[in-house]
């Protein structure tokens, strides 16, 4: 475990200075060749020389602060980290729960997807599409047909009467239409 770590540490510290020139320095053009296309109005490689000094040194400063803090919490004042954690303050909770992103996703996406899914399934497919479509039409037809069948009463005089009415109605229809 230790030897790989040492190698990686060396690489992490020195890789930047070793490869700086080839990647983004004076020999960048020869290194990358044609594999990266730089537009003519892209001057970022030259502009980096004109950034203010504090921008250049800011990462170093923050790193040193962080290093110092880590040294203090875990080397010089051992147990401090654990004591802060045990107090379970809000800052600690916020950081421990990864800024509550998981809970946010859960509420917005997961519960939202579930709610939408249920809505589309039960209301959309069930009540609307099936209700107005196959199930609804079938129920309506069944109802209409039950009511309509009652016309077929079985009595000859009903039938005869309807026949005569129909004949007269058709006659009237033709009269009023054709005239």
């Amino acid at each position: 475990m230790l030897i790989p770590l040492i190698l990686l540490a060396l690489g992490a510290v020195f890789a930047g200075s070793i490869f700086y020139d080839a990647f983004v320095g004076h020999h960048a053009k020869e290194f990358w060749g044609s594999s990266i296309y730089t537009a003519p109005d892209n001057t970022v490689l030259k502009d980096k020389y004109s950034i203010p000094g504090w921008v250049f040194y800011a990462p170093l400063v923050v790193m040193v602060i962080g290093l110092a803090a880590a040294l203090y919490f875990y080397l010089f004042n051992e147990g401090l980290g654990k004591k802060i954690a045990d107090r379970k303050g809000m800052a600690h909770a916020f950081l421990e729960n990864k800024w509550y992103f998981d809970e946010l996703y859960e509420i917005v996406f997961v519960k939202g997807a579930r709610a939408l899914g249920d809505f589309f399934w039960k209301i959309g497919d069930g009540k609307l599409i099936d209700g107005l479509g196959p199930n609804g039409i079938a129920a309506a037809l069944n109802f209409g047909s039950k009511k309509a069948v009652k016309i077929q009463s079985g009595y000859v005089y009903h039938y005869a009467f309807l026949m005569l009415i129909a004949a007269v109605a058709l006659g009237a229809f033709v009269l009023f239409r054709g005239a």
Partner: protein, 496 residues
Amino acid sequence: MDTLPILSILTWTPALAAVLILFLPQLIKSPEAARANAARWIALVTTVIVFALALWMTLAFDETKTGYQFVERADWYGMIQYHLGIDGISVLLILLTAFLMPLCILASWTSIEKRVVEYVAAFLLLQTLMIGVFCALDIVLFYIFFEAGLIPMYLIIGIWGGKNRVYAAYKFFLYTLLGSLFLLIAIAWMAITAKTTSIPDLQAFEFAKNAQTWLWLAFFASFAVKMPMWPVHTWLPDAHVEAPTAGSVILAGVLLKMGGYGFLRFSLPMFPEASNDFAPFVFALSGIAIVYTSLVAFRQTDIKKLIAYSSVAHMGFVTMGIFSGNEQGIQGALFQMLSHGVISGALFLCVGVIYYRKHTREIAKSAGLFNRMPNYAAEFLLFTLGNVGLPGTSGFVGEILTMQGAFNVDPVTAMVAASGVILSAAYMLTLYRKVVFGVIVNPALSTITDMNAREILIFVPLIAAALYLGFQPNIIFDQTATSAVALVDAFHANFK
């Protein structure tokens, strides 16, 4: 070998085998079990032969030529002719049908116990009708094969299906019938106006623009129900859930593709202006379908219903690709149809494996399969990821191409479709986690056995197809390119 009527042979061989099988009771006066066995073996041999013939035909197919090949033509009834032929669009769909059938027969080997003879005969008849749909070059002949497919499917769902099979069978039949009857009126009008029922002639005929609108809508009514598109998709979950395993495989694998085939063969070439005008409408429906049904799939507790809704979502990609009217979209749609046939078929077969053992499709009752069925878990994972569209599986190619095709025309729909990919990952991975991983809670599962040789035999070709198509999609595109490009060119020629 030009004079060999390969298409007629492919189309009618299964039917002849079905007739032979139906007369088995008369020929073999032996116990029911022997007859059932004979029926299964005859069917298996027939479907394997048909697959070999289809494969030979695909290899003999000249992908550099436009137009139709292996054409057969004979007069039949007035304008209607017995006219068969294939091009790049249909040749692979026929191969898909021939490929899935033996697997269906194998899958039903032990799971169907009663009335095996009729079951097998129904499947063979269905195969005849499906192949007929894809190679018919006369529009009425196409309609005959298209509609006739309702009969065996109705019987398959209704006789050998699940608890609610009667409702599902009726719904399937009547829904599809209504859409198709509108199609019939449109066909009749076209036959009168163009004085021909030959598909190539109808494709060349220029219909008046306002006629095109209502003709397109009539054709859409039928194909939208068949695909199925939102909002006329509700028959599919019921039909899939209640059908026997092999029935679901063939329904998802082939029958749904008839809708997409219809759009490609009829709506785009015959009604180009109308297709162009209605494209935004189709895009909207596709986008809604993808998101809506994916969300619904997410909430399902029945595995089969989940996969059924997932099928609707994947068909949304197909319609999106077709109506983008460019080569990527159409090639993508064709590929997606083929890939979905393989992957969805495989998924239903996976469900069938569990159902056959424990007669349950509930996710809750199937938890923890990994513990006792490692082989099953592995291949189920492959198809899960294929359904999600992981690069490397065939599912990816179709989705990326259709989205690309759609993006050229309507970036918003393409973006909505892309979100569908995320949603499919959500429901498929959730399904996989709940079913395969975790602890076994259902005591009935403690004795469940892993896949046997027959089941592994069914899945090997599907795995091979899913992976090979994922890594080498060009074998598909080489076959379809000429026809797809010809379709796109002819389509755009109308708008110059």
